[in-house]
Assembly symmetry: C2
DNA sequence: CGCCGAGTTGAACTGAATCAAGAAACGTGG
DNA sequence: CCACGTTTCTTGATTCAGTTCAACTCGGCG
Protein backbone atom coordinates (compact mmCIF):
# COMPACT_ATOMS: atom_id res chain seq x y z
CA UNK A 1 0.00 0.00 0.00
CA UNK A 2 2.70 2.41 0.97
CA UNK A 3 4.59 1.40 -2.14
CA UNK A 4 1.59 2.07 -4.29
CA UNK A 5 1.40 5.59 -2.93
CA UNK A 6 5.08 6.26 -3.55
CA UNK A 7 4.84 5.19 -7.15
CA UNK A 8 1.77 7.17 -7.87
CA UNK A 9 3.28 10.26 -6.32
CA UNK A 10 6.53 9.87 -8.13
CA UNK A 11 4.65 9.97 -11.38
CA UNK A 12 2.96 13.15 -10.38
CA UNK A 13 6.35 14.80 -10.02
CA UNK A 14 7.37 14.23 -13.56
CA UNK A 15 4.04 15.03 -15.12
CA UNK A 16 1.93 17.38 -13.07
CA UNK A 17 2.99 20.44 -11.14
CA UNK A 18 3.34 19.37 -7.54
CA UNK A 19 0.57 20.30 -5.15
CA UNK A 20 2.42 19.02 -2.16
CA UNK A 21 6.09 19.72 -1.54
CA UNK A 22 6.58 16.24 -0.17
CA UNK A 23 5.95 14.71 -3.56
CA UNK A 24 9.00 16.26 -5.08
CA UNK A 25 11.46 14.85 -2.60
CA UNK A 26 9.97 11.41 -2.07
CA UNK A 27 12.17 10.21 -4.89
CA UNK A 28 15.30 11.06 -2.92
CA UNK A 29 14.41 10.60 0.71
CA UNK A 30 11.91 8.06 1.91
CA UNK A 31 9.53 9.51 4.44
CA UNK A 32 7.09 7.51 6.51
CA UNK A 33 3.42 8.38 6.32
CA UNK A 34 3.62 9.67 9.85
CA UNK A 35 6.56 11.94 9.05
CA UNK A 36 4.76 13.33 6.05
CA UNK A 37 1.66 14.04 8.05
CA UNK A 38 3.50 15.67 10.89
CA UNK A 39 5.68 17.74 8.56
CA UNK A 40 2.60 19.01 6.78
CA UNK A 41 0.92 19.88 10.05
CA UNK A 42 3.75 22.31 10.78
CA UNK A 43 3.73 23.92 7.38
CA UNK A 44 1.74 26.83 6.17
CA UNK A 45 0.79 27.54 2.59
CA UNK A 46 0.54 31.14 1.41
CA UNK A 47 0.15 33.13 -1.74
CA UNK A 48 2.22 36.28 -2.03
CA UNK A 49 2.46 38.95 -4.72
CA UNK A 50 5.55 39.87 -6.68
CA UNK A 51 7.92 41.97 -4.59
CA UNK A 52 6.88 40.45 -1.27
CA UNK A 53 9.74 39.97 1.17
CA UNK A 54 9.77 36.53 2.76
CA UNK A 55 12.58 37.72 5.00
CA UNK A 56 12.33 41.46 5.58
CA UNK A 57 15.27 43.78 6.08
CA UNK A 58 17.14 43.40 9.33
CA UNK A 59 15.30 40.34 10.50
CA UNK A 60 16.60 36.82 10.82
CA UNK A 61 15.14 34.18 8.56
CA UNK A 62 13.61 31.59 10.86
CA UNK A 63 11.78 29.36 8.45
CA UNK A 64 12.61 27.22 5.51
CA UNK A 65 10.47 27.92 2.44
CA UNK A 66 9.32 25.68 -0.34
CA UNK A 67 8.18 27.34 -3.54
CA UNK A 68 5.29 25.46 -5.04
CA UNK A 69 4.98 28.11 -7.73
CA UNK A 70 6.85 31.30 -8.51
CA UNK A 71 10.37 32.59 -8.16
CA UNK A 72 12.48 34.18 -5.44
CA UNK A 73 15.95 35.51 -4.90
CA UNK A 74 18.11 35.94 -1.85
CA UNK A 75 20.11 39.16 -1.82
CA UNK A 76 21.84 41.67 0.41
CA UNK A 77 23.10 45.20 0.18
CA UNK A 78 26.77 46.01 -0.31
CA UNK A 79 27.68 49.70 -0.46
CA UNK A 80 24.10 50.56 -1.31
CA UNK A 81 23.98 48.11 -4.19
CA UNK A 82 22.01 44.92 -4.33
CA UNK A 83 23.95 41.70 -4.53
CA UNK A 84 21.94 38.67 -5.57
CA UNK A 85 23.22 35.51 -3.94
CA UNK A 86 20.81 32.92 -5.18
CA UNK A 87 17.59 32.16 -7.06
CA UNK A 88 14.92 29.65 -6.14
CA UNK A 89 12.33 28.61 -8.69
CA UNK A 90 9.18 26.52 -8.30
CA UNK A 91 9.53 23.09 -6.68
CA UNK A 92 12.63 24.03 -4.80
CA UNK A 93 13.64 25.26 -1.39
CA UNK A 94 14.66 28.75 -0.40
CA UNK A 95 16.40 29.21 2.84
CA UNK A 96 18.91 31.51 4.39
CA UNK A 97 20.30 29.61 7.29
CA UNK A 98 23.27 31.79 8.12
CA UNK A 99 21.36 34.21 10.27
CA UNK A 100 19.62 31.44 12.14
CA UNK A 101 22.77 29.42 12.72
CA UNK A 102 24.98 32.28 13.77
CA UNK A 103 22.25 34.05 15.70
CA UNK A 104 23.07 37.36 14.04
CA UNK A 105 21.06 39.22 11.42
CA UNK A 106 23.19 38.90 8.34
CA UNK A 107 21.39 41.38 6.07
CA UNK A 108 20.22 38.71 3.67
CA UNK A 109 16.73 39.28 2.35
CA UNK A 110 14.52 36.97 0.34
CA UNK A 111 12.26 38.61 -2.22
CA UNK A 112 9.66 37.16 -4.55
CA UNK A 113 10.31 38.00 -8.19
CA UNK A 114 6.94 36.63 -9.27
CA UNK A 115 3.62 36.01 -7.55
CA UNK A 116 4.30 32.79 -5.70
CA UNK A 117 2.80 29.98 -3.69
CA UNK A 118 5.01 29.36 -0.69
CA UNK A 119 5.05 26.72 2.02
CA UNK A 120 6.87 27.73 5.15
CA UNK A 121 8.18 25.64 8.02
CA UNK A 122 9.76 27.26 11.09
CA UNK A 123 13.28 26.03 11.86
CA UNK A 124 12.30 25.74 15.44
CA UNK A 125 9.57 23.25 14.63
CA UNK A 126 11.85 21.46 12.21
CA UNK A 127 14.45 20.87 14.90
CA UNK A 128 11.90 19.26 17.12
CA UNK A 129 10.98 17.03 14.23
CA UNK A 130 14.65 16.19 13.69
CA UNK A 131 14.71 14.88 17.23
CA UNK A 132 11.65 12.73 16.84
CA UNK A 133 11.99 11.40 13.29
CA UNK A 134 15.21 10.00 11.91
CA UNK A 135 13.93 10.18 8.34
CA UNK A 136 13.17 13.89 8.70
CA UNK A 137 16.71 14.47 9.90
CA UNK A 138 17.84 12.61 6.79
CA UNK A 139 15.71 14.92 4.69
CA UNK A 140 17.42 17.89 6.31
CA UNK A 141 20.86 16.47 5.69
CA UNK A 142 19.95 15.68 2.09
CA UNK A 143 18.73 19.19 1.34
CA UNK A 144 21.69 20.88 2.99
CA UNK A 145 24.14 18.63 1.20
CA UNK A 146 22.57 19.48 -2.13
CA UNK A 147 22.82 23.16 -1.30
CA UNK A 148 26.46 22.79 -0.30
CA UNK A 149 27.40 21.10 -3.58
CA UNK A 150 25.66 23.89 -5.43
CA UNK A 151 27.59 26.48 -3.43
CA UNK A 152 30.93 24.86 -4.20
CA UNK A 153 30.23 24.99 -7.90
CA UNK A 154 29.10 28.55 -7.68
CA UNK A 155 32.12 29.55 -5.68
CA UNK A 156 34.58 28.18 -8.20
CA UNK A 157 32.66 29.68 -11.07
CA UNK A 158 32.77 33.09 -9.43
CA UNK A 159 36.36 32.91 -8.42
CA UNK A 160 37.94 31.74 -11.62
CA UNK A 161 35.76 32.34 -14.60
CA UNK A 162 35.65 35.52 -16.66
CA UNK A 163 32.42 37.47 -16.88
CA UNK A 164 31.45 35.98 -20.29
CA UNK A 165 32.19 32.47 -19.03
CA UNK A 166 30.01 33.03 -15.99
CA UNK A 167 27.19 34.32 -18.14
CA UNK A 168 27.43 31.26 -20.40
CA UNK A 169 27.35 29.00 -17.36
CA UNK A 170 24.30 30.83 -16.05
CA UNK A 171 22.47 30.43 -19.34
CA UNK A 172 22.99 26.67 -19.40
CA UNK A 173 22.24 26.32 -15.71
CA UNK A 174 19.09 28.47 -15.56
CA UNK A 175 17.83 28.95 -19.13
CA UNK A 176 14.33 29.91 -18.04
CA UNK A 177 15.48 32.65 -15.70
CA UNK A 178 16.74 34.71 -18.63
CA UNK A 179 13.16 35.55 -19.53
CA UNK A 180 11.91 35.82 -15.98
CA UNK A 181 14.55 37.94 -14.27
CA UNK A 182 15.52 41.51 -15.17
CA UNK A 183 19.05 42.07 -16.42
CA UNK A 184 20.12 44.16 -13.47
CA UNK A 185 19.37 41.33 -11.07
CA UNK A 186 21.15 38.75 -13.19
CA UNK A 187 24.20 40.99 -13.37
CA UNK A 188 24.22 41.37 -9.60
CA UNK A 189 24.19 37.58 -9.39
CA UNK A 190 27.04 37.18 -11.86
CA UNK A 191 29.14 39.79 -10.12
CA UNK A 192 29.31 42.31 -12.95
CA UNK A 193 27.60 45.60 -13.64
CA UNK A 194 24.48 45.76 -15.73
CA UNK A 195 26.36 47.61 -18.46
CA UNK A 196 28.97 44.90 -18.72
CA UNK A 197 26.34 42.19 -18.92
CA UNK A 198 24.54 44.10 -21.63
CA UNK A 199 27.77 44.26 -23.65
CA UNK A 200 28.46 40.58 -23.10
CA UNK A 201 25.06 39.75 -24.50
CA UNK A 202 25.57 42.04 -27.48
CA UNK A 203 28.56 39.99 -28.54
CA UNK A 204 26.54 36.77 -28.93
CA UNK B 1 18.67 25.92 20.11
CA UNK B 2 21.62 23.57 19.85
CA UNK B 3 22.04 24.97 16.38
CA UNK B 4 22.15 28.52 17.54
CA UNK B 5 25.49 27.74 19.14
CA UNK B 6 27.14 26.19 16.11
CA UNK B 7 29.68 28.87 15.44
CA UNK B 8 30.62 29.72 18.95
CA UNK B 9 31.31 26.12 19.63
CA UNK B 10 33.42 25.77 16.55
CA UNK B 11 35.88 28.00 18.33
CA UNK B 12 36.11 25.40 21.05
CA UNK B 13 36.84 22.77 18.49
CA UNK B 14 39.75 24.59 17.01
CA UNK B 15 41.32 25.61 20.29
CA UNK B 16 40.96 22.51 22.48
CA UNK B 17 43.64 19.95 21.74
CA UNK B 18 41.99 16.70 20.82
CA UNK B 19 43.44 13.24 20.84
CA UNK B 20 40.34 11.74 19.45
CA UNK B 21 38.20 13.53 16.90
CA UNK B 22 35.06 12.43 18.71
CA UNK B 23 35.99 14.47 21.75
CA UNK B 24 35.94 17.67 19.80
CA UNK B 25 32.39 17.31 18.56
CA UNK B 26 30.80 15.77 21.60
CA UNK B 27 30.01 19.30 22.77
CA UNK B 28 27.84 19.88 19.72
CA UNK B 29 26.28 16.55 18.90
CA UNK B 30 25.51 13.96 21.52
CA UNK B 31 26.73 10.56 20.43
CA UNK B 32 25.93 7.35 22.24
CA UNK B 33 28.80 5.17 23.40
CA UNK B 34 27.82 2.63 20.79
CA UNK B 35 27.91 5.24 18.00
CA UNK B 36 31.31 6.41 19.09
CA UNK B 37 32.67 2.91 19.16
CA UNK B 38 31.25 1.96 15.80
CA UNK B 39 32.40 5.22 14.19
CA UNK B 40 35.92 4.64 15.44
CA UNK B 41 35.91 1.08 14.18
CA UNK B 42 35.41 2.43 10.65
CA UNK B 43 38.09 5.06 10.90
CA UNK B 44 41.73 4.76 10.13
CA UNK B 45 44.50 6.89 11.54
CA UNK B 46 47.52 7.66 9.37
CA UNK B 47 50.59 9.85 9.34
CA UNK B 48 51.49 11.41 6.01
CA UNK B 49 54.37 13.64 4.94
CA UNK B 50 54.09 17.14 3.53
CA UNK B 51 53.03 17.05 -0.08
CA UNK B 52 51.02 13.84 0.22
CA UNK B 53 47.80 13.83 -1.79
CA UNK B 54 44.80 12.61 0.20
CA UNK B 55 42.77 12.72 -2.99
CA UNK B 56 45.00 12.14 -6.01
CA UNK B 57 44.48 13.67 -9.43
CA UNK B 58 41.50 12.40 -11.39
CA UNK B 59 40.07 10.28 -8.62
CA UNK B 60 36.92 10.86 -6.64
CA UNK B 61 37.23 11.65 -2.98
CA UNK B 62 35.39 8.87 -1.20
CA UNK B 63 36.24 9.50 2.42
CA UNK B 64 35.85 12.26 4.89
CA UNK B 65 39.06 13.26 6.67
CA UNK B 66 39.70 14.62 10.10
CA UNK B 67 43.01 16.35 10.68
CA UNK B 68 44.27 15.64 14.14
CA UNK B 69 47.47 17.50 13.35
CA UNK B 70 48.80 19.34 10.29
CA UNK B 71 47.37 21.34 7.44
CA UNK B 72 45.80 20.62 4.09
CA UNK B 73 44.34 22.45 1.15
CA UNK B 74 41.80 21.50 -1.49
CA UNK B 75 42.64 22.77 -4.95
CA UNK B 76 42.11 22.16 -8.63
CA UNK B 77 43.68 23.18 -11.90
CA UNK B 78 42.24 25.91 -14.07
CA UNK B 79 44.08 26.64 -17.32
CA UNK B 80 47.20 25.01 -15.95
CA UNK B 81 47.14 27.12 -12.80
CA UNK B 82 46.41 25.93 -9.32
CA UNK B 83 43.31 27.31 -7.66
CA UNK B 84 43.11 26.82 -3.93
CA UNK B 85 39.57 26.37 -2.76
CA UNK B 86 39.96 25.78 0.94
CA UNK B 87 42.31 25.15 3.83
CA UNK B 88 41.83 22.73 6.68
CA UNK B 89 43.97 23.00 9.78
CA UNK B 90 44.29 20.67 12.75
CA UNK B 91 41.11 19.62 14.58
CA UNK B 92 38.89 20.19 11.61
CA UNK B 93 37.39 18.22 8.77
CA UNK B 94 38.54 18.15 5.19
CA UNK B 95 36.16 16.79 2.66
CA UNK B 96 35.37 17.26 -0.96
CA UNK B 97 31.90 15.88 -1.33
CA UNK B 98 31.11 17.21 -4.78
CA UNK B 99 32.69 14.33 -6.66
CA UNK B 100 31.07 11.77 -4.43
CA UNK B 101 27.63 13.33 -4.57
CA UNK B 102 27.58 13.97 -8.29
CA UNK B 103 29.42 10.79 -9.16
CA UNK B 104 31.80 12.62 -11.44
CA UNK B 105 35.47 13.31 -10.89
CA UNK B 106 35.56 17.03 -10.37
CA UNK B 107 39.32 17.58 -10.52
CA UNK B 108 39.53 18.64 -6.91
CA UNK B 109 42.63 17.40 -5.11
CA UNK B 110 43.49 17.52 -1.43
CA UNK B 111 47.14 18.03 -0.56
CA UNK B 112 48.91 18.14 2.77
CA UNK B 113 50.88 21.33 3.30
CA UNK B 114 52.53 20.00 6.43
CA UNK B 115 53.22 16.54 7.81
CA UNK B 116 49.86 15.52 9.23
CA UNK B 117 47.96 13.03 11.29
CA UNK B 118 44.78 12.13 9.47
CA UNK B 119 41.74 10.08 10.37
CA UNK B 120 39.75 8.84 7.40
CA UNK B 121 36.24 7.47 7.19
CA UNK B 122 34.85 6.16 3.89
CA UNK B 123 31.59 7.81 2.83
CA UNK B 124 30.23 4.42 1.97
CA UNK B 125 30.67 3.23 5.54
CA UNK B 126 29.34 6.49 6.85
CA UNK B 127 26.13 6.12 4.89
CA UNK B 128 25.51 2.72 6.37
CA UNK B 129 26.04 4.26 9.79
CA UNK B 130 23.57 7.04 8.90
CA UNK B 131 20.98 4.34 8.34
CA UNK B 132 21.60 2.60 11.63
CA UNK B 133 22.27 5.51 14.01
CA UNK B 134 20.10 8.58 14.15
CA UNK B 135 22.70 10.48 16.15
CA UNK B 136 25.38 9.84 13.52
CA UNK B 137 23.07 11.21 10.88
CA UNK B 138 22.70 14.26 13.10
CA UNK B 139 26.47 14.54 13.27
CA UNK B 140 26.60 14.51 9.46
CA UNK B 141 23.94 17.18 9.18
CA UNK B 142 25.71 19.28 11.78
CA UNK B 143 29.06 19.18 9.99
CA UNK B 144 27.58 19.89 6.59
CA UNK B 145 25.54 22.77 7.94
CA UNK B 146 28.62 24.33 9.42
CA UNK B 147 30.45 23.93 6.16
CA UNK B 148 27.57 25.52 4.27
CA UNK B 149 27.51 28.59 6.48
CA UNK B 150 31.24 28.94 5.95
CA UNK B 151 30.77 28.69 2.18
CA UNK B 152 28.12 31.40 2.17
CA UNK B 153 30.44 33.78 3.94
CA UNK B 154 33.30 32.97 1.65
CA UNK B 155 31.13 33.37 -1.42
CA UNK B 156 30.02 36.85 -0.51
CA UNK B 157 33.53 37.86 0.43
CA UNK B 158 34.85 36.73 -2.92
CA UNK B 159 32.08 38.19 -4.97
CA UNK B 160 32.12 41.72 -3.71
CA UNK B 161 35.31 42.58 -1.97
CA UNK B 162 38.39 44.09 -3.57
CA UNK B 163 41.67 42.20 -3.43
CA UNK B 164 43.01 44.18 -0.44
CA UNK B 165 39.72 43.66 1.40
CA UNK B 166 39.88 39.93 0.76
CA UNK B 167 43.44 39.79 2.01
CA UNK B 168 42.49 41.65 5.17
CA UNK B 169 39.62 39.24 5.72
CA UNK B 170 41.94 36.30 5.23
CA UNK B 171 44.41 37.64 7.76
CA UNK B 172 41.76 38.01 10.45
CA UNK B 173 40.14 34.70 9.59
CA UNK B 174 43.31 32.59 9.39
CA UNK B 175 46.11 34.53 11.09
CA UNK B 176 48.28 31.47 11.59
CA UNK B 177 48.19 30.43 7.94
CA UNK B 178 50.18 33.49 6.95
CA UNK B 179 53.29 31.88 8.37
CA UNK B 180 52.44 28.35 7.34
CA UNK B 181 51.39 28.73 3.72
CA UNK B 182 53.53 30.08 0.85
CA UNK B 183 52.43 33.29 -0.79
CA UNK B 184 51.61 31.71 -4.13
CA UNK B 185 49.07 29.39 -2.55
CA UNK B 186 47.45 32.15 -0.54
CA UNK B 187 47.13 34.25 -3.68
CA UNK B 188 45.48 31.37 -5.51
CA UNK B 189 43.01 31.18 -2.63
CA UNK B 190 42.30 34.89 -2.70
CA UNK B 191 41.80 34.91 -6.45
CA UNK B 192 44.68 37.22 -7.34
CA UNK B 193 48.14 36.70 -8.80
CA UNK B 194 51.13 36.32 -6.57
CA UNK B 195 52.50 39.65 -7.77
CA UNK B 196 49.33 41.47 -6.82
CA UNK B 197 49.31 39.91 -3.37
CA UNK B 198 52.92 40.89 -2.90
CA UNK B 199 52.06 44.49 -3.75
CA UNK B 200 49.07 44.46 -1.42
CA UNK B 201 51.30 43.36 1.42
CA UNK B 202 53.90 46.01 0.61
CA UNK B 203 51.30 48.70 1.23
CA UNK B 204 50.68 47.65 4.82
C1' DC C 1 80.59 29.26 -4.77
C1' DG C 2 76.45 29.03 -8.06
C1' DC C 3 71.97 27.33 -8.24
C1' DC C 4 67.07 27.37 -7.01
C1' DG C 5 62.68 28.46 -5.15
C1' DA C 6 60.18 32.23 -2.96
C1' DG C 7 59.21 36.79 -2.96
C1' DT C 8 59.54 41.65 -4.82
C1' DT C 9 59.42 45.41 -8.12
C1' DG C 10 58.61 47.73 -12.67
C1' DA C 11 56.14 48.89 -17.11
C1' DA C 12 52.78 47.89 -20.45
C1' DC C 13 48.35 46.06 -21.16
C1' DT C 14 43.37 44.78 -20.46
C1' DG C 15 38.86 43.60 -18.65
C1' DA C 16 35.50 45.57 -16.26
C1' DA C 17 33.75 49.71 -13.49
C1' DT C 18 32.17 54.20 -13.68
C1' DC C 19 29.90 58.11 -15.44
C1' DA C 20 26.74 59.82 -18.69
C1' DA C 21 23.29 59.77 -22.11
C1' DG C 22 19.83 57.75 -24.80
C1' DA C 23 16.48 54.11 -26.58
C1' DA C 24 12.93 50.56 -25.72
C1' DA C 25 9.48 48.46 -23.10
C1' DC C 26 5.94 48.74 -19.72
C1' DG C 27 1.99 50.11 -16.91
C1' DT C 28 -1.30 53.22 -15.45
C1' DG C 29 -4.63 56.82 -15.63
C1' DG C 30 -7.11 59.73 -18.53
C1' DC D 1 -6.36 53.81 -27.23
C1' DC D 2 -3.00 57.21 -26.52
C1' DA D 3 0.13 60.06 -23.48
C1' DC D 4 2.80 59.82 -19.71
C1' DG D 5 6.31 58.60 -16.43
C1' DT D 6 8.99 54.84 -14.83
C1' DT D 7 11.66 51.05 -15.24
C1' DT D 8 14.74 48.29 -18.15
C1' DC D 9 18.23 47.98 -21.38
C1' DT D 10 21.92 49.66 -24.56
C1' DT D 11 25.85 52.37 -26.11
C1' DG D 12 29.92 55.47 -25.69
C1' DA D 13 34.05 57.61 -23.33
C1' DT D 14 36.99 57.48 -19.59
C1' DT D 15 39.27 55.49 -15.59
C1' DC D 16 41.25 52.03 -12.66
C1' DA D 17 42.33 47.59 -10.43
C1' DG D 18 44.60 43.77 -11.41
C1' DT D 19 47.16 40.81 -15.03
C1' DT D 20 51.04 39.75 -17.64
C1' DC D 21 55.71 39.47 -18.67
C1' DA D 22 60.15 40.30 -17.29
C1' DA D 23 63.96 41.38 -14.47
C1' DC D 24 65.78 41.42 -10.06
C1' DT D 25 66.65 40.38 -4.77
C1' DC D 26 67.25 37.41 -1.08
C1' DG D 27 68.14 33.36 1.79
C1' DG D 28 69.09 28.45 1.93
C1' DC D 29 71.82 24.61 0.53
C1' DG D 30 74.06 21.25 -2.66
Amino acid sequence: MANGNLLREKQMITTAPSINFLDSISANVKLTTESRTVLLSHMQKDHFPKGHLLVPVGSICNSVYYLERGLSRRFYLKDGKEVTEDFTAENDFACSINGYITGKADGRQTELLEPSTVWSLPYHDLEKLYDRYHNIERLGRFLITRELVEMHERLSSLQFMSAPERYAAFVTRYPSLLQRVPLGIISSYLGVTQETLSRIRAKV
